[in-house]
Symmetry: C2
Subunit: 361 residues, 2 copies
């Protein structure tokens, strides 16, 4: 790691989320916040000033200009989903490694074109799912992978909800069919589906069926929905996502010999520590009036916030390519693709009246 080069990262677009990622780039070792581009130079300059960009950072009045700068190694793309295909493909063509916000495309067909461009140009692609990089996530994964403590996954449930205000429900890009047209499913459902795939070791389910009763806005964008996922070996999972309910972000994963719970999987309650509870081989006391054993609380401390851990992982991969001629990692893009594939399946099920949709990789 110490020998890897510093990676110059440019930000394409001044979305709200780019503020947090700018800070993360500043915090992450080997990452250099090198540039920001917006559709106007004024906006880019204001963003750089407001977000502690280093003095040598460049500002651009167009995305193309940033992509043409030979000093930029990699870009972070927080643009609306409808622009991902165009700008991620162009970034790849310009040999820029890509950290891409979720959902990665409007559908898996779009994402496959982005992946083709990345493959053709030897660039790394990783999506911006920050919680994957929290050290808690690895500790939870260790538990889920433990034959003794957890066994085989049998069922999982995930939810991500927040109560959007009137302004969000009217104006946010996530309620606009021409911007983030997948709405709550693409935004919140992405996390739920990813968490289920993560718990299932990225084994795709065989069937997905949307639950009845999704809520769509006047423009036809999903603002609340859910689905159940089914594996032929009997595993089942459900999720619910909504812009219309109080903030919640839960994972419950239940295996043959253990269980895992947490209620803040996407954004930990606190930045520098994160917890989860587990139990293994639990039963009841003799009169069935209490549990034996009691569940265990695990708390994981992290000096670097999870979004900076994400940047650290991204620049590690990019640095290996740049310095050592390594091949781009294929695991992160494969995880993105599976997540998008299942979003598509849920959407198809909703559009076809909640019929089961066979998942084909």
């Amino acid at each position: 790691m110490a020998n890897l080069p510093s990676i110059n990262i440019g930000i394409i677009g001044c979305a709200d989320i780019a503020r947090k990622v700018s800070r993360a780039i500043n915090l992450a070792p080997n990452a250099h916040l090198a540039a920001v581009a917006s559709r106007t130079l004024e906006k880019a300059s204001a963003f750089a000033k407001a977000n502690d960009f280093p003095a040598d950072a460049k500002v651009f009045g167009s995305y193309e200009a940033l992509l043409d700068d030979p000093e930029i190694d990699a870009v972070y793309i927080p643009l609306p989903t409808s622009l991902h295909l165009k700008w991620a493909s162009l970034a790849a063509l310009k040999k820029k490694h890509i950290l891409l916000e979720k959902p990665v495309g409007l559908n898996v067909g779009e994402f496959d074109k982005i992946l083709e461009a990345c493959d053709a140009n030897g660039v790394q692609l990783m999506d911006g799912t920050m919680w994957m990089h929290n050290p808690r996530t690895q500790q939870m994964k260790d538990f889920l992978s433990d034959e003794h403590r957890f066994g085989q996954l049998r069922t999982a449930h995930s939810c991500f909800t927040f109560a959007a205000d009137a302004d969000f429900l009217k104006n946010d890009i996530r309620v606009k069919p021409d911007l983030d047209g997948l709405g709550s499913l693409g935004d919140q459902g992405w996390y739920c589906i990813r968490s289920i795939l993560w718990a299932a070791d990225y084994e795709l389910p065989d069937t997905v069926v949307a639950l009845p009763g999704p809520v769509l806005n006047e423009a036809g964008v999903i603002i609340s929905c859910g689905a159940s996922l089914h594996w032929d070996d009997g595993k089942v999972a459900t999720f619910h996502c909504s812009f219309l309910a109080h903030l919640a972000m839960d994972i419950t994963a239940i295996g043959t010999t253990g269980s895992l719970h947490l209620n803040d999987f996407i954004i930990p309650f606190q930045e520098k520590e994160a917890s989860f509870t587990t139990n293994s081989k639990a039963g009841f006391n003799e009169l069935v009036t209490g549990w034996v054993p009691q569940p265990s609380l695990h708390t994981v401390y992290t000096e670097l916030p999870q979004e900076a851990c994400m940047v650290r992982e991204f620049v590690r991969l990019v640095g290996n390519i740049k310095a050592n001629g390594a091949k781009p990692d294929q695991e992160w893009p494969a995880r993105s693709r599976k997540t998008q594939l299942l979003i598509d399946a849920v959407k198809t099920s909703i559009d076809s009246g909640f019929t089961p949709v066979k998942v084909t990789g």
Copy 2:
């Protein structure tokens, strides 16, 4: 309360769960553990001896004999579900008030016949759903009813799973079509459905649809299944129950302005204290790296275990009838009926290939 009479309770059948309820009757004020009946006198005597029955308790070698004893005010019926119609109806005819194990019948038609017998004979019926009587439950209900802290329910999820051993899966009455033929749905699903109804203020959903992928044993009994419940106002709920996954018993209830979580709703982790977490009007800090406010943990202490609280409530109602000529309470039977009705709907949906089932009260 102090003026209410002591109620003589007889137990019909020596099921495992009757051990816990015997102790609860001994613990509850105004309840007297007066008798036990089994199909043989030996079994009844052994049960009485093993479960701290008072010296004056009677033992009977037949259920009829206990029901014919004029000193018995009320009976607890932990018999297999397939015997509920016969014995609860006869108990009512003999003017015994009834504490009835769940599920209350094989279907709501059976339960309606039991209710008719209770009505005709002026006896109280209450089901044995113990967690309803934990003082924690009332505190949680206060939260869910709070317009400010919780708002309107939008979504709920519940699960009850435990990993049954090979002996259970082969021999327990809950896997036998002629005994507790509703299997996991009748046993575990009962709690899940009740918790969802409880969170929804007992408002019946408009539609129920079973999730694909239930597991049935060779005899056709459900040992794992799930369903989603839908209200026309947009509320949705899901549940999962299974004999094939590690012990878990969760409720997540998410309203417009608050959320509630607990992972031990049926049997608290500890007998004398029980917790839950809530959050209200939560959002994120400025950079979206933590929650504001943090969730709150609430712990409720109870000297009397929840099953003794259940007996206390039952004998309070019976005492009021006996001493004051009160009418039997109608709320508890109505809750039992709604729970059974939804179990029937899930079963119908499974049997019809996971089609949505309209719920008609």
